[in-house]
Symmetry: C2
Subunit: 311 residues, 2 copies
């Protein structure tokens, strides 16, 4: 992907997204021993950066494609993002969700105008159902992370961060399907000044860490993490970009994720979801790595179930 | 108090406080049916606007007074604010707290460097103990709300709000001891363009509402509200300012406070304390009053016990 594509992507989506603020905390800097800048995508529309990629992907469709709608499979933030982006642009969004998805997730998608199609809770079933919608409705499938237009969109958060602070040494982001880190790495490559990108992943779902070691896309046998946005795996578009542009991945434990999340809630008074806390937990864990650096963190989202908090 | 005093106060405290952001939410505007701007004092140092008044009061002391320290009685945000402001300015802070105060409140004061003196949980006991500290240590007593320097300091939040948006029709703030609303009313009077100030109070502690009706300072027989920052009563400095400059007070129920708090947490992804939610609850309750107005709300603070949430 070229620099020009990212610039055009940002111009394209700007009318439909929020320019989120960059916040800092003296106290958290003191605790982390490093100067950290939080790009608050928890304040993004629908509460997560996924709004960027979803919007870009829909805006790239032809008029005819838009008329037939879009389809994705997701029970997380991308389901909500595609629903809201589609609604904002007058497009129909079909969301394939496992029948076992929490009621609160289904309600959120419905609220944003998404049309839910339930399927059995397996990868095969959701792929088959998405394919069926593509065939029957002529809807365009948009993958939550492994789609170049989605990746470009997600990269615009880091572009904005670097517009405000061109001198970051390191930008840290959580890694799930890899859309955010791939886009961030492209943005850092084109717009940063020797800015490296580091991923953060729970030990419990360290497929990206292992993928970088082995040189091929690895899976997770289990996904016992509180960071529910990071359970997905890399794809054939995200992985090569991560291999080429990402410096490394720091893994963190579940307790560290919860502690980092609590620190941000208590000290910064902002609501971040566990997946977002993974990036700050990585900075707290690897203090030597970040020492004397200027560090940016993309707070990926703030969608939590307040009835089910880990503290 | 003159306009000049407020301007000088703001200049005096600016190096020691955060300039907090003003946030908005399309979704909350839609729900409230009115355009609302939230001045986020939950992002203030130590998590509440009280930092402003405490800092101003200490900065007004003579060198000799500063050498002998300051004393207050509070188990809430002012205890923490005076502790941190004093610490920042190299002054000793004695905080008289009832022995029954929650451990988490005591810990917070200690963390900010305050020196806690416990007393029996009665108004008489805490006043007597504060007097004792004044006499024995030569410390200067600073009242949490009924002090003109504190009032001026609290008014600077509204000054900043009006600097960014000079055209507010109404500014809404919660009312406890009256320091915030008295300062806000002064700021709106001097810096607003026909900007009225409305207070918000729980039905359970509607002493200010009743005081405005009766023309004298009323008390609360009981204080069964979740808005723990609003249990205190008006004083002889705050009440006359409120009588002169405040348009009226809207009362809200406990369920409304909790619902407003939850809305802000879920939709804006910011942590506000119950006392702050009272102001937004008032806007949600009295939709006709605020219709077609440009409304500012001062989010007074974000200090909550995450282990003890009302939802």
């Amino acid at each position: 992907m070229q620099k020009k594509q990212l610039i055009e992507c940002h111009q394209r989506i700007t009318p439909f997204i929020h320019r989120t603020p960059v916040l800092t905390s003296h106290l958290l800097n003191k605790i982390a021993g490093v100067e950290v800048f939080f790009k608050c995508e928890n304040f993004q529309r629908m509460g997560a950066y996924k709004m960027r990629g979803a919007t870009n992907a829909i805006l790239q469709l032809t008029k005819e494609q838009k008329g037939k709608g879009v389809v994705t499979h997701s029970s997380g933030n991308f389901a909500q993002a595609l629903s809201l982006a589609a609604k904002s642009l007058g497009v129909k969004a079909y969301i394939v969700m496992p029948s076992s998805a929490p009621r609160v997730k289904k309600e959120a998608v419905k609220e944003y105008g998404g049309y839910i199609i339930e399927c059995a809770p397996t990868l095969q079933a959701r792929q088959a159902m998405a394919k069926k919608i593509e065939d029957e409705k002529g809807a365009t499938f948009i993958h939550p992370s492994n789609d170049l237009d989605v990746i470009a969109g997600q990269g615009t958060a880091c572009m904005e961060l670097l517009q405000e602070h061109p001198d970051f040494d390191i930008v840290v982001v959580p890694v799930g399907g890899g859309g955010l880190i791939a886009g961030t790495a492209l943005a850092a490559h084109y717009f940063g000044d020797d800015c490296t990108v580091i991923g953060a992943e729970p030990f419990e779902v360290d497929d990206a860490y292992r993928s970088l070691k082995s040189g091929k896309i690895e899976s997770n046998d289990t996904t016992n993490t509180i960071a529910d946005g990071l359970k997905t795996e890399l794809g054939d578009n995200t992985f090569p970009l991560i291999q080429k542009y990402v410096e490394g991945i720091v893994r963190v434990g579940e307790d560290e994720i919860i502690a980092a999340m609590k620190l941000v809630w208590e000290r910064m008074k902002i609501i971040i979801e566990p997946s977002s806390a993974v990036a700050f937990a990585a900075v707290l864990r690897e203090k030597e790595l970040f020492k004397n650096k200027k560090v940016g963190i993309i707070i990926s989202g703030g969608n939590v179930d307040l009835k089910n908090l880990p503290f």
